[in-house]
């Protein structure tokens, strides 16, 4: 009989913090920018330069620790992790090994079998590396240090997860918590949230863990799920054939759906960590923690409660809208302008969700402003445009964040309120469609729909359907 296996998964999640500047220097963390334009002697490892810790980074790290039920390390230090690689300008990364800022936390996830706690072993602060670009022409690599020194926290979970679904639930939970804190936008596709998967398999019922591998380069939930399945199958196959899994780091190639070992002789994986003498220890006081707690924004559960009272929108809407910090912010900001919570919610629930899905976009990537959404709502309220035109305008706005007022004006999309013009168009439609008129008179109510449609078509969509209906019935 075939053996049954269980997968044991732990995650190392790197999150880029939302601070304006890098962890140890005053360079901007803004995305984009021409190569090396966001650099200085510190983040390019110039001889003689020295690091100074960005206070905001510490505060974000502590905030995430508090929100994930961690103990905050009251006396913590930075350590140097030594390894040679060109994206790492000092050839050591400033990180934390011996005294990380947070330890012993957990988050709760929903699984098929109910709630489950995933333990957090530790959270530490560290600096990101630069970017290596392969130059095909000259067969060399080029180094850009714009990302070098961007602050990261690494959240190391306990090996508490057993399947891809749990992993995704854990990541989504972490992402929501961190986004709500404003500590990061957590975009997997842009790399502001990255997960390395530690995975081992063992026979069901076994007490000991199997040998684990670490998989890197997973930049979407889909890739993570596939990599887990792939690695699980690979390890089981090795064990079934009587082999041994080797503890190693593997790189997942999502296109080929295959992982390969990253080891080389020159990569000894002996990082020679020691306390960084250039940085002073950090003492976290009760006051500091209280201050961070006081600054903490509203959490999701609090928000849901408030929405119910303040806006009176349905619980289903609240559930969806608060499922993303970006969405909730957009909702609140738009409502603050137009004071029409239900209408705002409708736009976010229906059209926004549809387009996000169509474009496989993250709510974090929404580009349109609350001002413009409020304007669009005002245009429909005043019947200046009808609902189908509004949807059309919204779609353009969703993609390009256009100003709906200007757009409607420019494209001549305003509903024609000139009754005379409408009346003569309807007369023409009646004249052109005797069959439908007859059907209507014979009691086929549906025929009127056709006539409204024809009128709308003749008006190029710029008419108020209710008004067409009234005039049509009158003329018929």
């Amino acid at each position: 009989m075939a053996k049954e296996y269980e997968t044991v998964i732990g995650l190392e999640v790197h999150v880029e913090l939302a601070s304006k500047t890098k962890i140890f220097c005053g360079c901007s963390t803004a995305f984009g920018g021409a190569p090396n334009t966001h650099t200085c002697p510190v983040c390019t490892g110039m001889p003689g330069s020295l690091p100074v810790l960005n206070k905001q980074v510490l505060e974000y790290a502590i905030a995430v620790g508090l929100a994930t039920n961690c103990d905050i390390t009251r006396y913590c230090k930075f350590d140097r992790k030594n390894y040679f690689y060109p994206d790492n300008p000092q050839n050591y990364q400033i990180s934390q090994l011996y005294l990380p800022i947070c330890r012993n936390g957990y988050v709760e996830i929903e699984t098929e079998n109910g709630k489950k706690q995933v333990g957090i072993h530790e959270i530490h602060m560290e600096e990101d590396a630069g970017k290596l670009i392969h130059d095909e022409w000259e067969d060399c690599s080029l180094v850009d240090y714009n990302r070098s020194g961007v602050p990261l926290i690494e959240i190391v979970s306990e090996p508490d997860m057993r399947c891809a679904d749990e992993v995704i639930a854990y990541l989504e939970k972490l992402r929501l918590i961190i986004q709500y804190l404003g500590a990061s936008d957590c975009k997997l596709n842009e790399g502001s949230m990255r997960a390395d998967v530690n995975l081992s398999v063992r026979e069901v019922g076994a007490k000991e863990f199997g040998t684990r591998t670490e998989m890197k380069n997973l930049n979407s939930f889909r890739a993570i799920a596939r990599a887990i399945e792939g690695e699980k199958a690979r390890q089981i196959e090795i064990l079934e054939e009587g082999g041994k899994v080797i503890q190693e780091t593997r790189r997942w190639d999502d296109a080929k759906e295959y992982s390969y070992a990253m080891r080389s002789k020159e990569d000894a994986q002996d990082y020679r960590y020691f306390p960084d003498p250039d940085l002073t220890p950090i003492v976290v006081s009760d006051e500091m923690i209280d201050e961070i707690k006081a600054k903490q924004p509203e959490f999701r559960s609090e928000k849901m409660e408030r929405y119910k009272e303040q806006y009176g929108i349905p619980e289903y809407d609240i559930e969806i809208i608060t499922g993303s910090k970006r969405m909730a912010d957009l909702f609140e900001e738009t409502t603050a302008i137009c004071n029409q919570p239900k209408k705002v919610s409708n736009w976010l629930m229906v059209e926004t969700q549809r387009l996000l899905k169509e474009e496989s976009m993250d709510p974090e990537d929404i580009r349109f402003s609350p001002e413009n959404l409020a304007k669009l709502i005002a245009l429909t309220d005043s019947k200046a445009i009808n609902s189908s035109v509004a949807k059309e305008v919204f779609e353009v706005m969703f993609h390009e964040n256009i100003d709906p007022d200007a757009y409607v004006e420019e494209k001549g999309l305003k509903t024609v309120n000139d009754e005379g013009a409408l009346r003569s168009t309807i007369e023409q439609v009646i004249a052109d469609n005797p069959k439908s008129v007859e059907d209507y008179h014979n009691g086929k109510e549906k025929a009127i729909g056709f006539l409204v449609g024809q009128t709308m078509k003749a008006m190029k969509g710029k008419a108020d359907p209710a008004m067409i209906n009234t005039i049509l019935k009158e003329l018929l």
């Binding site: 601070s19 304006k20 500047t21 220097c25 005053g26 360079c27 901007s28 021409a34 190569p35 090396n36 334009t37 966001h38 650099t39 200085c40 002697p41 390019t44 100074v52 810790l53 960005n54 206070k55 905001q56 980074v57 510490l58 230090k77 030594n82 040679f84 690689y85 060109p86 290596l132 670009i133 392969h134 130059d135 000259e138 067969d139 060399c140 690599s141 080029l142 180094v143 850009d144 240090y145 002789k265 020159e266 000894a268 002996d270 020679r272 020691f274 306390p275 003498p277 940085l279 002073t280 220890p281 950090i282 003492v283």
Partner: protein
């Protein structure tokens, strides 16, 4: 307590430190390192049970900077000393 440094150890330390020693240098390095370790081993004469390792001398802590952008585009200076440069980036042998 005489330390003996093997060829493998020197090779391994060479990988860590990215140093490549010639045959002669290697022999010298083996001897020097063994001598130094013998010498350092005298520290084991001292009882340091319950002594906290002292990485920083002074009780100076919580030295922070505010999260304010102070640096502009310094790319010209960044690559000024680059042994090999292309498109404002550092050129290195291919990495993957």
């Amino acid at each position: 307590m005489a330390n003996v440094i093997s060829d493998e150890t020197i090779e391994y330390v060479g990988i860590l430190a990215k140093l490549e020693l010639s045959g002669e240098e290697k022999e010298r390095a083996k001897k020097d390192m063994a001598d130094m370790l013998d010498y350092i081993d005298q520290l084991s004469e001292l009882d340091t049970t319950d002594v906290e390792p002292m990485s920083h001398i002074f009780p100076l802590h919580n030295v922070f900077r505010e999260d304010v952008v102070t640096n502009g585009d310094d790319s010209a200076n960044t690559v000024k000393n680059a042994p090999q440069e292309k498109d404002n980036m550092f050129r290195v042998p291919r990495t993957f």
